[in-house]
Symmetry: C2
Subunit: 581 residues, 2 copies
């Protein structure tokens, strides 16, 4: 009582002001690993939750035992809710630990707001041991990096950071490369000082902001047909663009056009994906999607989308079939790596044959609806007046006998419940899951968007926090799982409904494939074996999971895997199955 009374009479401190502004902007979750310089935020989470109870519900604080869990969880949360979560990270090293998954979030185009402490303004020049250039690290992944200044309006600084993560926000600029990650750096003293919730003349809002800067990687030049409409709705220019695209699609020979789906075009929300299917059904255009997609809604009744192959020659061969390409919230596909002899960019069509519905287009679903209308496809209903193009309900049989990578994929597809969220960082082992799961009850499929391994377990944390009523299944390569196994503890702590399936091939199998791909000859192979083989000693995932409070079992046959999955799917909390391949 007395504490509440004193809170009412004292102006809020900086940490309270910032978090209150975050709650006011609609943020609900903070994935945190704080340190000394963030302790006022820790306290403020309580104060914000207490003061806003019944109004906004306050902030839910979720602890990660390594920052990569926090940043990856924020990515997973936003892939499911389309809204940013906060991360709370400790200085430069804390941010550095979270960068790999922020890189993945940047490539996924998911909104994230990082709060990072810094040394007190009057102490920074003394270069204390934890001091570093946080802004330089943040700029590598952020569309908006801002260091709060003394006297600045902190509420406005938070509002600007959240706004930067919006569709059509700062991330829509070419220099930001599609990133919707914003980073707010808060010197220690600003978090404890009170009354910094109004701006002064001397320090207007945003004076310390650096937008997408020299550090942002070069963006691809946009194609000739490119729209970027930051205003909501579908402005006249966008409507004209859509009608011209429709005309081009109509003029294209049947089977010679392709829709290339990414971002929001891949989601059920706003019928975006349904519109894609309708357009394909009406025009005979192929439906392709990114190989690494942030989230693709899939299953019976949704469009049957073909995933672009991983290796560039295969992807280029697929793309070479088409004379017209619509890029729907997807960057033009390029090779993941430049192998000897190329290729680099995979789209070889002339610019006028590429229509880019880009990430700056605020109301993409409306644009896709209009496109469907223009093509007379708006009335197409899967299973009613349309055969093909959309997936029919079907399940593979439950596998039996020897446990292989393909059998593992089959088992998951055979058993996954309706509405599952499948977080797929299975790399080599999960190759067949995409096709074998096409007729499953509708589900959301999330993959590794930035290639920085270690995303899987953290993504499950965020997805499960976002969707407590859906079962989250993690198809998880063992080598990659080791990058962020700490996330299992958060699954247990929060009793998240996550079923982790470890694909235990006990090697960096992808690297062995890459060695062959690059035709690397080995002198004696000792180092090559040492650096790609994880079998000596074998990782015991049952022990690792149990060590963090997650019930676990091991499967060496299909029967064991199926039994373990059936048990796991029934649980309200997390569990893990190590599938020994």
């Amino acid at each position: 009582m007395s504490r509440a009374a004193s809170a009412a009479t004292k102006p809020p401190n900086g940490a309270e002001t910032l978090l209150r502004a975050a709650v006011d902007a609609g943020l609900e979750v903070c994935f945190a690993n704080p340190g000394t310089s963030e302790m006022h935020f820790v306290s403020a989470i309580d104060s914000v939750s207490a003061n806003t109870a019944g109004i906004k519900g306050g902030l839910r604080a979720v602890l990660g035992l390594h920052e990569t869990v926090c940043s990856g969880a924020a990515d997973g949360y936003a892939r499911m809710t389309r809204r940013p979560a906060l991360t709370l990270l400790h200085l430069g090293p804390g941010l550095a630990n979270g960068l790999a998954n922020l890189h993945n979030a940047r490539r996924a185009g998911t909104p994230v707001v990082n709060l990072v402490g810094d040394m007190a303004t009057w102490h920074k020049a003394a270069d204390p041991l934890l001091n570093s250039d946080i802004g330089a690290l943040a700029a590598a992944v952020s569309c908006h990096t801002h260091t709060c200044q003394p006297g600045e309006n902190l509420s406005a600084a938070m509002a600007a950071a959240v706004a930067a993560t919006a569709i059509g926000g700062e991330g829509a600029s070419q220099a930001a490369g599609g990133s919707r990650v914003a980073t707010l750096i808060v010197p220690h003293d600003l978090s404890w000082e009170r009354g910094n919730d109004t701006a002064t003349e001397a320090n207007p809002v945003g004076s310390g902001t650096s937008g997408p800067a020299a550090h942002a990687p070069a963006a691809l030049p946009h194609s000739q047909h490119s729209i970027a409409a930051p205003a909501p709705g579908l402005p006249a220019g966008a409507q004209r663009f859509v009608r011209e695209a429709a005309a081009a699609l109509k003029a294209c020979p049947r089977g010679k056009a392709a829709l290339y789906i990414g971002g929001r075009a891949a989601l059920a929300e706003g019928e975006a994906l349904l519109s894609c299917g309708r357009i394909a059904a009406a025009t005979g255009a192929a439906l392709l999607c990114e190989n690494a997609f942030a989230r693709l809604d899939r299953g019976a009744g949704l469009p049957d989308v073909q995933r672009l192959p991983y290796f560039p020659q295969d992807a280029a061969a697929e793309l070479a079939k088409y004379e017209l390409l619509l890029l729907l919230d997807a960057r033009p596909p390029v090779a993941n790596f430049g192998y000897e002899g190329g290729p680099s960019r995979l789209v070889t069509l002339p610019e006028e044959a590429v229509w880019e519905f880009d990430s700056g287009l605020v109301d993409l679903p409306a644009a896709l609806r209009l496109l469907a209308e223009e093509l007379g496809a708006a009335g197409i209903t899967p299973g009613v007046n349309c055969r093909g193009t959309f997936c029919s309900p079907s399940r593979p049989p439950v596998p039996t006998g020897r446990l292989t990578a393909a059998a593992l994929c089959q088992a998951v597809a055979a058993l996954q419940p309706a509405g599952a969220v499948v977080v797929d960082e299975s790399l080599t082992s999960g190759g067949s899951y995409f096709s074998v799961s096409r007729g499953c009850p509708q589900f959301s499929h999330l993959t590794l968007t930035g290639g920085a391994i270690g995303a899987g377990i953290p993504l499950t944390v965020g997805a499960a926090v976002a969707c407590p009523d859906r079962t989250v299944i993690n198809l998880q390569a063992d080598g990659s799982a080791m990058y962020s196994l700490q996330g299992l503890w958060t699954q247990a702590r929060e009793q998240l409904r996550v079923v982790t399936v470890i694909c235990a091939n006990r090697s960096y199998a992808i690297l062995k494939v890459e060695q062959a791909k690059q035709r690397i000859t080995l002198s004696n192979g000792k180092a090559s074996r040492a650096l790609t083989d994880l079998g000596s000693p074998a990782l015991d995932w049952v022990s690792l999971a149990q060590g963090m409070g997650v019930p676990a079992s091991r499967a060496t046959t299909c029967e064991e895997l199926v039994a373990a999955l059936r048990t796991a799917m029934q649980r309200q909390g997390p569990s893990l199955v190590e599938a020994v391949l």
Copy 2:
């Protein structure tokens, strides 16, 4: 046979050239976590080892299952050998994962050479999904960041990187802030192309190098008395400086001078630390050392050094006792954090009372020997003609009964073998270890230099690779251990002689101390508890260790801990004891 013959006729590829140059520069170990763009290096490690067998022994490749293990291991290796190891890291995300421990290495002043792959030169502009600004990340921790260029002499590029990590190298510049970390970025195509081992006119060596740049944090201004002598030996200017310092010491009232020891002054090598002790014995000067030291050689017969307290008020109170301060390869002490009301810098003496023997002084041991001679202290021999100042042999008794943090420290000090390497990331639990271990048989004590937690386990990997004949003991806080537990697997893989003692207090106890220190009042404490308590669920370190192939046991009493430690010290490979506090 045929492969060797073909290797002899083909010019080496870029990866082979770079690694051969590293071996030629004396590097022997590569802590690696490679990816697609580093696969030619993986192969080249074999080829270099095969081709140089019997000459240099080639490169030993050690795999870490997360890059923080690699970078921390390189730090630990160099703290013990005083020579750099290579790391091999995959692109920007791989480097990002290693940054926290590179930050610690930077603060430790240890030499490290990072090899980081990049996209092929002709592919970078396509901005493939794993593309990022590697140089910006590297610059945050490196004194030397260089991206190899087509046609460049790659041997020379490697030689320059190694040279930059030398004492008196680029790290000696103020802008580099004492960092001896060098990062060489190698585009994928340069690693496979052959014949790039000679420079061309168009691309002279080093044309792409950026030295310590705008990203380097501001260095402290040097004191008035500052020497930086990059040439070996003790040049005339340095000799004059030492004689003046000796005169100042003589003129200072007894008990009013202090030697503040860091870096190489803290090592037995070159009798540097012995000289410090002789000077203190002769003059009555106090012997202080950094609170966070890279490596302090300690034990019976070595100087009895007092560690500067962690919290700034305590440290300032200690420093306020002195009128004259000699900084021996140590940065002037500053507060780790700026708390409300300060302080910031801890040395308040006038500039003329601070004598800085800085990290650029190549032959520091010679300078300390000369200083001892000038003070008539060269003949002082501990235990012979000197009482006090040096530690007498003594061991605490083996503890019994209830297992507390203090009892844990006592047990380790009672049992550690001669020549142990004690890697101490115990934070709150290990507070008493420093004093209770002062009379142990000589050992090396390593601590967390940059404050970026997660250094402990990786440091043990590097120290054990460097010193296979010494027992490495890790006093390890549980929360920090979770940051880099993957290193336990490398301990098992390489059968390293490491005894890990987990101080399992099941909380971020340091943060609770910090909350009290910062007088943070809590509204309801829910988030505060959620973000500092690790007890729900409790981490089971026995399971975690066994899951990575490290034998482990749990101790809940002193008797159990002592028995477990006795067994562990006998093993040739790794083991872990979870001490439940």
